[in-house]
Amino acid sequence: MSPRSSTQDPWWVKALVLSLVAVFLSLILVLPLVSVFAEALRQGLGPALEAMSTPDAIASIKLTLLTAAVAVPFNIVFGVAAAWAVAKHEFWGKSLLISLIDVPFSVSPVVAGLIYVLIFGSHGWFGSWLIDHNIKIIFAVPGIMLATLFVTFPFVARELIPLMQEQGVDEEEAAASMGAGGWTTLWRVTTPNIRWGLLYGVLLCNARAMGEFGAVSVVSGHIRGLTNTMPLHVEILYNEYDFVGAFSVAALLCLLSILTLILKGLLEMLQPQVRRAGH
């Protein structure tokens, strides 16, 4: 046997592996995705578009966009601050801090909602104070924001920390020694180096913020037109057996995630160093 044939699989192995992968991915990924569009269009395009444009659906789209509009900037500020502290400075307890930033990824989304109910719910820590001052957090938009901030918390930070650690501190030290202030250094020296990683983190954060279900469903109260995000609206329609409606709103979310995947693929192609394993 020549070395060449020994590092390449025989044709039948290749055929077997590819067919197993094809069957598996069809059953788990492709067919579910296709079925969303098929179910949405079951009665044609008209009813699907109608379901996407009911007042409740539009309210849910607006709330979803608002949630992402709050979560993404917050995540950028936190992520840049955390990466700046961790990657550009040495301090005691750094690896503990890095682990703590990742904690939301290992907490069930339902628990992420529960903790805010315990604090701000009517029987919670601040419950009676909030009622006295007529402030609603749980079963209202602020609760949805908090739950979304929790579940998206690590996205930008965990992209930027390894990236900025790799880049080291030479450029920033040079800038500082030439008299540049912190903000100038951040904006003129660091940002150009991290923009693609930042964009990658923002993309994933945005997708999660718009799609979060478990955490948001616990704090939302499912009030139609007021506290329903798109995924919650999908659930309500589905539970009411309005399948065309549920799958039509779901199809919108699918298009959004396909767009996310395309942008992500483009970023990875143009900037291969941004790809990191194990999100």
Partner: protein
Amino acid sequence: MSSTTHISSGQDRRPRGAPPLFRRRSAIPGFGLSLGLTVSLLSLIVLIPLSAVILKASGQSFSQFLEAGFSPRALGAYRLSFGAAFVAAAVNAVFGVLTAWALVRYEFPGKSIINGLVDLPFALPTAVAGIALAALYAPNGWVGQYLEPMGIEAAYTPLGVVIALTFIGLPFVVRTIEPVLRDLSADVEEAAASLGAGRLSIIGRVILPALGPAWLTGFALSFARGVGEYGSVIFIAGNMPFKSEIAPLLIVIQLEQFNYQAASTIAVVMLSASFAMLLVINAIQAWARKRSA
């Protein structure tokens, strides 16, 4: 600018007897602000709220804790959440490594689409995945209609939970194994081949051992994600107590009945399990680093 003289010097010029600094001095400004912001936001959004659930669960006697956290119904829910997550992670460990292998080693039409699609579970809202899988595997669904004559009930059974968790966990395995497989240089394989090793023994004695740590990490990440998963599962699970009710759903049910203490207790049991798994994952990664060093 007199102040630049002391920040740019690497030496510690603190007066004698000053308390030891907890950080090394750096010429780069913004340490206080960035660390302050990081720690305050982390505490306000994550750590203090999480402590609420632990406080709530600890405000009861030990026997109450056991009763709420380890009731037969709760035990059934843990068994399903952990068991289904384990099976799904095992399925992903097998098909994930095949998928990664195909993506790294083979050329085939549509490869870039498949590559993008593997990340779909990261991007697709879990509720959408849930209703899509439920529709697909229901007895009248595209796939379910062929399973039913074979006597396989997928939707609304524990098998449905496994299917949903397989969907959720797949990218963790593929994306952890893929870079390791890519870095595994063909030289090593060629060397083994030139020494007379056959293809099977190369796979068994060179490739698989090198993949080991990444494989375990991917399995553990997929398992950990599956244990807490809610959105994609509840639509396909059937949600029957003792049978097809996952632990996160039981938390929601307790919460809806205003049993905050019971909900918190189950949450604390789940949290402890998650943190234990986090430690295991870190240990695997530390072991892998040591082995490759």
